[in-house]
């Protein structure tokens, strides 16, 4: 876990990719969950942020 945070701090690809992956996953979940309409409404922007972030952070050094 501490590796993860230090990875974020030092702009390491692994940790950031993990974070972006998480955001995408949350976005996709929000899109398709049957619980709250507001979550559905904001799912797209969440996924979009996650995806753009993924594209950016995948160019960070390993």
């Amino acid at each position: 876990m501490s590796n993860f945070f230090s990875g974020l701090w030092r702009f390491r690809r692994g940790a950031w990719e993990m974070l972006a992956t998480l955001i995408i996953a949350i976005g996709v979940f929000m899109l398709m969950q049957p619980f709250a309409m507001w979550a559905y409404t904001y799912s797209f922007i969440t996924t979009l942020i996650g995806t753009v972030m993924f594209i950016v952070v995948s160019h960070f050094p390993d």
């Binding site: 990719e17 972006a20 992956t21 995408i24 996953a25 976005g27 996709v28 899109l31 398709m32 969950q33 049957p34 309409m37 559905y40 409404t41 904001y42 799912s43 797209f44 996924t47 979009l48 996650g50 995806t51 993924f54 594209i55 995948s58």
Partner: protein, 315 residues
């Protein structure tokens, strides 16, 4: 060796050839090789994608070319993301996605595990099991509607035969309760082999000596399964799950042929509704926004997928 070799080469190499060879740097050659593909994809993927983004901010309708096109800002997105009917489509998609993945992973992994016992003739049976996934989903969907006919269909008959129920007492495709499962069953029939194949590759990528080492290390079979087999197949399983997830998120052909989204809108998956909006209602601008939403989702999932792919590749 009668000729002086230097002479020989000098004579054999025409000046123009030599110049040409020298003139093309590796980078230039690389672009010659890669360029056409990139161009094609730019023309048939990227340019249209940008166009779609542009359209998604308009009220354009492709069947009304003479109607003035107005930019409506984010209105299309707002409408889609506040439309509870489309939310229901997404939920139907989720139901389909989750259950197909659950069944396919469970059955697929079990099958792979059994096949990995290397019984006699396992190659032949594996090939047979793999057949459905290679078939055209539209045609598969089409003939499964035949099996699902309540009175004449094989499926109802077989279920009736084994459970004693009256085959015409339930309608797989027509009932609100059963239709979501009907499409799950067909997708599972069709795509379990996919998960199975990947799991099998995962299982086969575990070298025997790891199990031998575990046996020497006095791990029980049970412990071997949980601490070795499962963790080592996991990346492969992830790959299968992600790919099936992406595929089923954009599922169209199979379900269109099976239920067409019905009954009512019970099995109306996102793609099916998108097709209605785009190619039946011709609300091009609106459906472009819808398409972009699906695009981004799939693109996000695809990024994760490629990450998983590379992870497996490193094995």
């Amino acid at each position: 060796m009668s000729l002086d070799p230097v002479e020989q080469v000098a004579r054999a190499t025409p000046v123009t050839v030599a110049k040409k060879i020298r003139g093309l740097s590796d980078r230039a050659i690389a672009w010659i090789f890669v360029g056409p593909t990139i161009l094609l994809l730019l023309a048939i993927n990227i340019f249209p994608l940008i166009w779609t983004i542009n359209l998604s901010f308009t009220n354009y309708k492709a069947n009304r070319p003479n109607r003035p096109v107005e930019y409506v800002g984010l209105r299309n997105y707002e409408r889609i993301l506040n439309d509870s009917d489309i939310w229901l489509n997404m939920q139907a998609t989720a139901h389909f996605l989750v259950w197909t993945i659950v069944f396919q992973v469970l059955i697929g992994f079990t099958l792979a595990w059994l096949i990995n016992k290397k019984f006699k003739g396992n190659d032949l049976w594996t090939t047979i099991i793999v057949l459905p996934m290679m078939l055209s989903p539209a045609v598969v969907g089409n003939f499964w509607t035949f099996f699902y006919q309540p009175q004449i269909g094989l499926f109802n008959y077989v279920v009736g035969f084994f459970t004693g129920a009256d085959p015409s007492s339930f309608e797989m495709l027509g009932s609100v309760d059963l239709a979501p499962w009907a499409i799950v069953i067909v997708d599972t029939w069709m795509w379990t082999p996919f998960v199975m194949l990947i799991c099998l590759a995962g299982l086969r990528s575990i070298p025997n000596y790891i199990y031998e080492a575990a046996a020497i290390d006095r791990a029980s079979k049970w412990r071997q399964f949980w601490t070795i087999t499962l963790p080592m197949v996991l990346p492969f399983l992830m790959l299968a799950v992600l790919f099936r997830g992406i595929e089923n998120f954009k599922m169209f052909d199979l379900v269109v042929q099976l239920t067409g989204g019905g009954p009512g809108s019970t099995t109306e998956l996102a793609s099916i509704n998108l097709k209605r909006e785009a190619f039946e209602k011709w609300r091009t601008g609106y459906s472009s926004a819808f398409a972009i939403i699906l695009f981004v989702t799939v693109f996000g999932l695809a990024s994760i997928y490629v990450k998983a792919l590379n992870k497996v590749k490193e094995r």
